[in-house]
Amino acid sequence: MNWRTPRTGGLALLAAVILLLPLALVNNYWYEVAILIGINAIVCVGLNLLIGYAGQISLGHAGFFGLGAYGSAILSARYGWPPAAALAATTAGVALIALLVGRPILKLKGHYLAMATLGMGIIISIVIVTEDRLTGGPDGMSVPAFTLFGMSLAGERVWYWIIGGTLVGAVWFALNLIESPAGRALRALHGSEVGAQVSGIDATRAKVGVFVISAMFASVAGSMTAHYSGFITPGKVSFFHSIELVTMVVFGGMASTFGAVIGAAALTLLPQLLTVLKEYEMVVFGAVMVSTMIFFPRGLLPSLMLALARKRK
């Protein structure tokens, strides 16, 4: 086994970090922050497949996250489904929706695609806010705890391991996908769509496929968030959250699975660290974003790797 490749070495490093991190988590608040990072990272790893590898932007992934969260919440709270079944059904439902929407939307290019996904996300958000009988409206709704084989999964320390395990699984899946023939087809798409088509790649099918996968990642993360926190509001469905997710991917480094994880960690942690700044928080946050993107236009991780590689030479 070659430990220097990202597939094995990187994955082992990630697993090690997740295993050792609890030593530094002094109380449940820090567990909470770690869990939030994990949830965002799962969404970002999926979104990065779409943005970083297939080169298709989406400004509507909070919509899929929200569908996952509210699907699980409604099925388990209003209709009494067992949470595991609710999660599975919701994920399948979101995959179907992504498949149906993906075909026409992914024919669009660049900024038009950005607008279409943005519109899709906003429509989902408006429906969730307006149908308050089902969703509780803007004030949100309570969600029952996750139960598996009669055991109730609650508390930060339990969910830390669930989210951590899911993240490792998500990263493993993404790394394998990228190395697979389908993944190579995707990267070819990113380079030149026409070129890829000429070489016999069904561009639309490949794009829709990765769109559906990234939507499912977001949906599962949404379902888990709902059950973990026991309460869900439309805040996480808003287009601000969509933009936040894209920002994490770009910040950490497009076309780098571990970059997506690092982006999620950095941008989840930053607001928690900036609270000491009080009214200056927004200004500093904006300034950090702008300057990072100017000085590391490829994102944190790829720029860092590049610098390291240059040093070695």
Binding site: I51, I57, P104, I105, K107, L108, K109, G110, H111, Y112, A114, M115, A116, L118, G119, M120, I122, I123, I126, V127, T130, S192, E193, V194, G195, F239, I243, V246, T247, V250, F251, M254, E279, Y280, E281, M282, V283, V284, F285, G286, A287, V288, M289, V290, M293, I294, P297, R298
Partner: protein
């Protein structure tokens, strides 16, 4: 019944005119740099908030407005110089994230320089409603419509008849060729940001007496302006204006005849439907991909 329709149309036109001005700002910057400037809404906010604070400080509107527009233009040029230009050559998505970061920065600055409260601006010529075809309209709406029309005509003249305008157009078609012909592409970039910031600020000032202004007013208006620009076809001036007006009217009719809770959703469904049939918007150029 027709009075009701007239009311919806007048309302839609007024709101749509503001969307159109914001959309024009998107189009101008896109043409000069292929950047989608997500901080466009913040220029709307700066225009409104600066005018209000200057007016409260005792300056007459005739002085406050030009100062506010110049302030916004200066911020726009600074944005181009210190945030967009240094990142030249970065990917489109990276540039988008930079403008999003800049918009957060500008909003944060606004809460520090001004405050987090809502503010009202005095209407330019009273607030006695005017009756038109059974509908009523505020004098300020006429200002909005009139100034928007004047700006559209002025921009048409600028891009069609002046050397600078033509240089900007040339840059949008082919920056390298334009540069070879002696166009200062750097200057065009700064100018386009300054120009579209001024447009945004004017929109913000015109609408402030009707809808109030605050530090976060730019978020929604920026979003709607982007939607209008896409609906019309990115980079097309005519498209931006038509897109803005259509969006405003669609929202107003949707609220009046279908469901007010779903009016924004209706507007976005229409945009999606248009894009499915015309993937480059109503007036957008069909893009040919170079292989």
């Amino acid at each position: 019944m027709s009075a009701q329709l007239a009311q919806y149309l007048l309302t839609g036109l007024t709101v749509g005119a503001i969307y159109a001005l914001v959309a024009l700002g998107f189009a101008i910057i896109y043409n000069a740099s292929h950047v989608i400037n997500f901080a466009q809404g913040e220029f709307v906010m700066i225009g409104g908030m600066a005018t209000v604070s200057l007016a409260n400080a005792g300056l007459p509107l005739l002085v406050a407005i030009p100062v506010a527009v110049l302030t916004a233009a200066a911020v726009g040029v600074a944005l181009a110089k210190f945030a967009v230009e240094p990142a030249r050559g970065a990917s489109v998505v990276t540039l988008i994230i930079i403008t999003i970061g800049a918009s957060i920065l500008l909003r944060g600055l606004a809460t520090l320089v001004w405050d987090k409260k809502l503010h009202a601006l005095q209407p330019f010529s009273g607030d006695q409603p005017i009756a038109i075809a059974g509908a009523t309209i505020l004098p300020q709406s006429l200002w909005v419509l009139g100034v928007t029309l004047a700006i559209v005509l002025l921009l048409g003249w600028f891009f069609g008849r002046t050397l600078t305008g033509k240089a900007m157009l040339a840059t949008s078609h082919n920056p390298l060729a334009a540069q070879l012909c002696g166009v200062n592409v750097r200057f065009v970039l700064l100018l386009s940001f300054g120009l579209s910031a001024s447009l945004g600020a004017i929109a913000g000032i015109l609408i402030a007496p009707i809808t109030l202004t605050s530090w976060d007013v730019g978020v929604m208006l920026g979003l709607k302006g982007f939607a209008a620009a896409i609906l019309g076809g990115l980079g097309s001036g005519t498209g931006a204006v038509v897109g803005g007006l259509l969006l405003g009217i669609a929202e107003s009719l949707g609220a009046g005849y279908v469901s007010s809770a779903y009016k924004d959703a209706i507007a976005f469904v229409i945009i999606l439907a248009v894009l499915f049939f015309k993937p480059s918007g109503l007036f957008g150029k069909k893009s040919a991909e170079r292989v």
